[in-house]
């Protein structure tokens, strides 16, 4: 890339050919506000917030899309550019509900911030407002079109990153709304509930379907035993909700906080991730050795992904592992094995999953998820909701001591921890598959030492590349595996399967970019850089643990010894596995 020289705000600046003006300005410490801009996607140019003055150009140009060129003279904050930006915010406010004080995004709303930063002090424009009803038809998401500023980020993420295209612009001009086709409700559409749209929404137009009140009521009900279980990604992300640096590991404080918020027991979903690995790993070995079920086998932990394949590739649902996702396994185990063991009436047990995920709300509501005889998981709270719950309970998160999970489901392997990031399930499965392939069939695995395991790190499946692949030699078997995150990337692998050209035995897919650490229920903002930091925190935790592989987990061993017998046994088939539904587009 050739160097170019341009003048920005009177200062000569060197940049590279191909950079946009926005990119150049940001490296120069100039903050140009944006609303519709999304990194890594083709600029939409819809919001016009980032307009700057380029000498010789006809009007103001959008810096997000305008290429920097040699000799350009740019004024980013000229009176003309500032007046334009302020007017645009004023125009948005003229068509926006005056609900800032009660809005879920208050304090984190980009429109609010812009109005502050640009010095908007009155509503100069007044007139008609777009009227549209709130759509609460989805189990996972709520859309409030009146708060929507039509920046289109959700539409682009849904279509370009997730390949779902459940929503788009409807109507035209002032009547434009973002909604499913023909203004239908979101509930009955192909929406996979991933919540990526919420993560990119600048205002309160998109939010999760909140279960905060349900959980709060359960906690305050003396009859109920309320159990929290915490997904791997939460410990690496929830700190952000309390102003801690990105990538802070807060496992101990999180446990302490949930206990103080009133949960009777706090368990680690990672333990169930180890259980998932036992079942899924065994299923993989079974598929490879018997050839009874189709290959490649594809992971099923990510409920957004599962709904995606049900809608868009229904002919491939037999490729999905039948193993339930970890929190659903734990929910079932709690309401069967654990309830029996502790003498608790499962009817009085309320299982609350703290998840970085909005699709888990949908998953928990699926009719299949009642193998315990009850709804296996009662409520799912997103990371953001969990933080709100803690604030509601008056918890000063930053000052809490570290506490351990309750022991019944409190010890997890590093394999369970890295479930929270793309490639993690694959790596966890490989660690155990490697063992399973060498263990005598049907035997309950004995404790193995680290040395016996050989290497446990599978670097090729780590990182944020869209599709990662690796070839692993195991016990004379050459295993070809791939991992993808973000559903557009999943499409690439599924198209191969469809065409019969997929070379893989095993595919891991996580619905959200980056995996659960980039989940739609996580803290905002979520960017590529932030995803990297969060993933690093999980790998650090894995690294720090002695226990690295799922089959080593003593709780898992006990569970099989006392209850399930063996992976893929009859009881686990009934309680730990599920089935899928073919859906239409």
């Amino acid at each position: 890339m050739a160097d170019i020289t341009l003048t920005i705000n009177g200062k000569s600046v060197t940049a590279q050919q191909g950079q946009t003006l926005l990119q150049v300005c940001r490296t120069q410490g100039i903050d140009i506000p944006t609303l519709c801009y999304l990194e890594d996607l083709f600029p939409s140019g819809a919001c016009r917030m980032c307009v700057v003055e380029v000498e010789g150009a006809r009007g103001l140009v959008p810096s997000c899309a305008f290429p920097a060129a040699d000799g350009q003279v740019v004024h980013t904050h000229s009176p003309r550019a500032r007046r334009a930006r302020k007017t645009i915010v004023e125009l948005l406010l003229a068509n926006h509900p005056q609900e800032c004080l009660t809005c879920v995004r208050s304090g984190g709303c980009e429109l609010q911030t812009l109005a502050q930063d640009l010095g908007v002090r009155e509503r100069r424009y007044e007139g008609a407002r777009r009227e549209a009803a709130i759509d609460a038809s989805s189990v996972s998401l709520v859309r409030d079109p009146e708060k929507c500023i039509l920046c289109g980020r959700c539409v682009r993420v849904c279509e370009e990153v997730q390949g779902v295209a459940a929503i788009d612009f409807n109507n035209r001009g002032f009547q434009t709304v973002i909604a499913p086709a023909c203004n239908k409700s979101l509930g009955g559409t192909t929406c996979v509930n991933c919540g990526q749209c919420i993560l990119v929404c600048p205002t309160g137009a998109l939010r999760e379907q909140s279960n905060l009140k349900d959980v709060w009521d359960a906690i305050n009900d003396p009859e109920k035993i309320v159990i929290a279980q915490v997904a791997p990604a939460i410990r690496a992300t929830i700190g952000e909700e309390f102003g801690m640096p990105v990538g802070s590991r807060v496992t101990g404080r999180l446990t302490a906080a949930l206990r103080r918020a009133g949960f009777d027991l706090v368990f680690d979903t990672d333990v169930a991730a180890d259980l998932t690995i036992m079942e899924e790993g065994s299923e993989l070995v079974h598929r490879i050795t018997t050839g009874e079920e189709p290959l490649p086998m594809i992971t099923s932990c990510s409920p957004g992904w599962v709904k995606f394949i049900e809608h868009f590739y229904p002919e491939q649902i037999d490729n999905l592992s039948t193993a339930k996702s970890p929190h659903m396994m734990l929910g079932t185990v709690l309401k069967t094995y654990y309830a029996e063991k502790q003498g608790i009436d499962p009817a009085n047990m309320v299982v609350v999953s703290i998840m970085p995920c909005t699709a888990k709300k949908y998953e928990a509501s699926r009719p299949e998820m009642t193998d315990s005889g009850y709804q296996d998981v009662d409520y799912v709270l997103t990371t953001r909701e969990a933080a709100r719950l803690m604030k509601l309970a008056g918890i000063k998160f930053e000052n809490l001591p570290d506490e351990a999970f309750d022991p019944a489901f409190g010890i997890a392997s590093g394999a369970g921890v890295i479930f929270g990031t793309t490639g993690g399930v694959m790596e966890a499965a490989l660690r155990t598959a490697q063992f399973l392939l060498t263990a005598p069939e049907g035997e309950v695995p004995e404790m193995v030492t680290r040395e016996m395991l050989g290497h446990v790190d599978f670097a090729p499946v780590r990182g944020l590349e869209g599709v990662k692949e690796a070839t692993v030699e195991m016990n004379g078997l050459t295993l070809k595996v791939a991992a993808a995150h973000g559903l557009m990337n999943a499409r690439t692998l599924l198209e191969q399967v469809k065409a019969g050209t997929s070379p893989y035995h095993f595919i891991e897919i996580m619905g959200c970019p980056g995996g659960c650490i980039g989940g739609g229920g996580g803290p905002m903002p979520t960017t590529t850089e932030i995803r990297k930091q969060r993933a690093k925190a999980l790998y650090n935790e894995d690294e720090a643990l002695m226990l690295r592989a799922s089959h080593d987990n003593p709780i898992i061993k006990q569970l099989y010894a006392e209850y399930f017998g063996k992976p893929l046994g009859e009881k686990s088939h009934h309680l730990l596995h599920t089935s899928y539904t073919k859906r239409s587009v």
């Binding site: 600029p43 009007g59 007046r83 007017t87 948005l92 424009y125 039509l150």
Partner: protein, 673 residues
């Protein structure tokens, strides 16, 4: 359409020695239509082809009736005239060919009908209703009497005998409306059967294509001639067509696409529709030449579905061309291939914007995207794409035929050739006109258009569509060329020209166009979507009845007027596409030239033109009122009192300013002030 038995076409083989077909193309096929047979000598074939050429040139042994069956003619009543006339022809036992032709451009004279007898010139009739049509049949066809009182003139034909009695009638082209026109694009419109390929070819059609293919230079000659001609885009922007073609030609990436923008959407504009309905082959030939010049092998005509006749004609023409090997693979054995499709648009105004149009062809929502990359680099499906307007393409064949220099000899320094305008509004001779660039607006309105209806005073002309500008009397000497119009605060646009007299209120006009633009905003970018709504609301506040207004509303009205101009500037400065960037033009240009009228509305609460009824006070002139009670009976608000044969009174507190009383009064007794 011909009602008589379908004759063998000029496009057919003369005998079995002709081997041309789409599969076995003959390079000389088109030349052979003009001068053939070329590959063999046979008097019988020569005679046959000559006879077909004559037929295609309307040199026939029986009379021909040409009926103006463009959308304008049909709307004016031609659909009823045709069957009645055919019935009469049958009753009289006359062997006459009835030919449907497109719009001739004299919309103010529709329905129109021409009759051509063998060896005579073509006699033209206007305002033809059933009665007049029957009179023409009886008097001219049966009795052979030239009905001079019914006719508006004649068009000379090559076979007309000099002593034909029709020559006593004036030549149509000497009419004031036509004499100053220069017809390149409209050359064939209204004269030929648009569905007949042979009629186009017999008049030299596709000669430019034959010439370009014969040059064997991959369209370089075409490109050079278009560059030399200085042709600029007729869709509004005025970008040099040759430059655009050059840019697309230079792209290495293939395939390339050529797109014809026929999404004509300006209120009052119908230039493209008339050309597509009247002479579709001229546009297609232009596209073939363009495709050759840029190296495209696929093309689309994006035409709004509200133009069913244009679409029907295009589809018919494409089918016929494919059958004759003039569209498709390896055209005339040259190795040049071009496949053409018609894509129907759903009528969104914004789809006339090139990137929105491309999105629409791709099956996406018609919304513009940021440029760069320009379509020349990355257009349809990410491939190099060139988009030109209907009228632009319609100029190309003439440029290649007669050379770029000849084209460039017409017009001004930077605007060459002619421009087609749709003259509408309060003008006497409304219709389609094609004038050389560089004519003044005064000449267009008063000489070509015949001046203002009822000889009322001229007030303004709106040029360039909704986002163009309104120019006042003082600007009437502005030249019709791209740069002069921009300097005057308007723009060439696609060719809508709306003339207004003193009864038009400029605030109301700005409000009308603002409403159109507000409704047609795609909703993508904030300034256009939100800003045009606020601008419209401000204009509506200006013309809103003020009597019930509370203090806060009054304050709001004044405040918003102050912001009107600033808002307009921001919308112009920041909008994503041309629609938004020009959206404030109706307001800015009327503010520029008619500021006093705005001030009268805002400060004095009156409408000088008397058009904003909500600002008017309606009273009854006691001297004129006969007490007929008609106004009282029609008043929707029950605001008029008065007994029969007594002077009536309007209760101002109840009046809703609808003006119905004034409309129904037969004695001009209701006053509006």
């Amino acid at each position: 359409m011909t009602t008589a038995t379908t004759a063998i076409s000029l496009m057919d083989a003369c005998c079995s020695r002709c081997t041309h077909s789409p599969q076995t193309p003959c390079a000389q096929y088109l030349d052979c239509r003009a001068h053939g047979p070329l590959c063999h000598t046979d008097p019988a074939c020569t005679a046959a082809l000559n006879a077909r050429r004559d037929a295609a040139m309307h040199i026939a042994t029986r009379p021909i009736i040409y009926v103006g069956a463009g959308t304008c003619g049909l709307a004016a009543g031609m659909d009823q005239v045709i069957p009645a006339m055919q019935k009469a022809l049958t009753e009289h036992g006359l062997d006459v060919m009835v030919k449907e032709v497109g719009c001739f451009g004299l919309c103010h004279r529709e329905p129109m009908l021409d009759v051509k007898k063998p060896g005579r010139p073509r006699v033209c009739f206007d305002h033809v209703d059933v009665k007049k049509a029957l009179a023409i049949v009886t008097r001219y066809l049966v009795n052979d009497e030239v009905p001079a009182d019914l006719s508006m003139g004649i068009i000379a034909t090559p076979d007309a005998a000099p002593d034909s009695p029709e020559f006593a009638l004036p030549n149509l082209y000497d009419l004031p409306v036509l004499v100053r026109q220069r017809r390149i694009v409209l050359q064939n419109c209204g004269l030929i059967d648009p569905d007949a390929l042979d009629e186009y070819v017999a008049r030299g059609g596709y000669g430019a294509l034959a010439k370009a293919l014969a040059a064997g230079d991959n369209g370089e000659m075409v490109l050079n001639e278009v560059l030399k001609a200085g042709l600029r885009g007729r869709g509004g922007g005025g970008f040099p067509t040759g430059r655009k073609w050059q840019l697309t030609r230079a792209q290495q990436n293939t395939p390339k696409y050529l797109v014809c923008n026929a999404d004509e959407g300006d209120p009052g504009a119908f230039m493209d529709r008339s050309v597509l309905e009247g002479d579709p082959h001229r546009v297609i030939e232009g596209m073939l030449l363009g495709a050759l010049a840029i190296g495209a092998d696929h093309g689309y005509i994006y035409c709004r579905a509200e133009y069913p006749l244009a679409i029907k004609r295009l589809l018919h023409s494409i089918e016929e061309l494919e059958g004759r090997g003039l569209l498709g693979d390896n055209i005339l054995g040259s190795g040049f291939s071009f496949h053409l499709k018609v894509k129907q648009g759903a009528g969104a105004f914004v789809c006339g914007e090139e990137t929105a149009l491309l999105a629409s062809i791709e099956g996406k929502r018609g919304m513009p995207r940021v440029r760069p990359p320009y379509p020349a680099q990355s257009g349809l499906w990410g491939q190099p794409t060139c988009i030109n307007n209907v009228e632009t393409f319609a100029n190309v064949a003439a440029i290649v035929d007669h050379g770029g220099a000849a084209f460039a000899s017409v017009g001004t320094e930077r605007s060459k050739g002619t421009k087609v305008f749709a003259l509408t509004g309060t003008i006497k001779l409304g219709g389609l006109v094609e004038v050389p660039m560089g004519m003044t607006l005064r000449e267009v309105v008063f000489d070509v258009g015949g001046g203002i209806l009822d000889d009322r005073p001229f007030k303004a002309v709106q040029i360039g569509g909704p986002s163009g500008g309104c120019l006042p009397t003082a600007m009437l000497d502005t030249l019709v060329d791209y740069d002069s119009l921009i300097a005057a605060g308007a723009m060439m646009g696609s060719g809508g020209l709306v003339v207004m007299d003193d009864k038009t209120c400029m605030v109301d006009l700005a409000r009308f166009f603002m409403e159109f633009i507000r409704n047609e905003s795609c909703g993508k970018c904030i300034p256009c979507r939100e800003g045009t709504t606020r601008m419209l609301e401000i204009l509506e506040r200006i013309v809103r009845p003020y009597r019930d207004e509370d203090t806060e509303a009054t304050l709001q009205r004044f405040k918003s007027v102050i912001m009107l101009e600033e808002l307009a500037q921001v919308i112009r400065d920041t909008s994503l596409c041309g629609l938004g960037q020009t959206a404030p033009n109706p307001v800015l240009s009327t503010l520029r030239y008619f500021r006093d009228e705005y001030e009268k509305h805002v400060f004095e609460r009156t409408c000088p033109a008397g058009a904003c009824r909500s600002l008017l006070t309606f009273t009854v002139n006691a001297e004129k009122c006969k007490g007929c009670t008609l106004c009282a009976r029609n008043c929707p608000a029950g605001a008029i009192w008065g007994a029969s044969k007594q002077t009536h009174v309007i209760d101002q507190a109840k009046c809703v300013h609808c003006g119905v009383c004034m409309d129904v009064c037969r004695f001009d007794a209701v006053l509006a002030q």
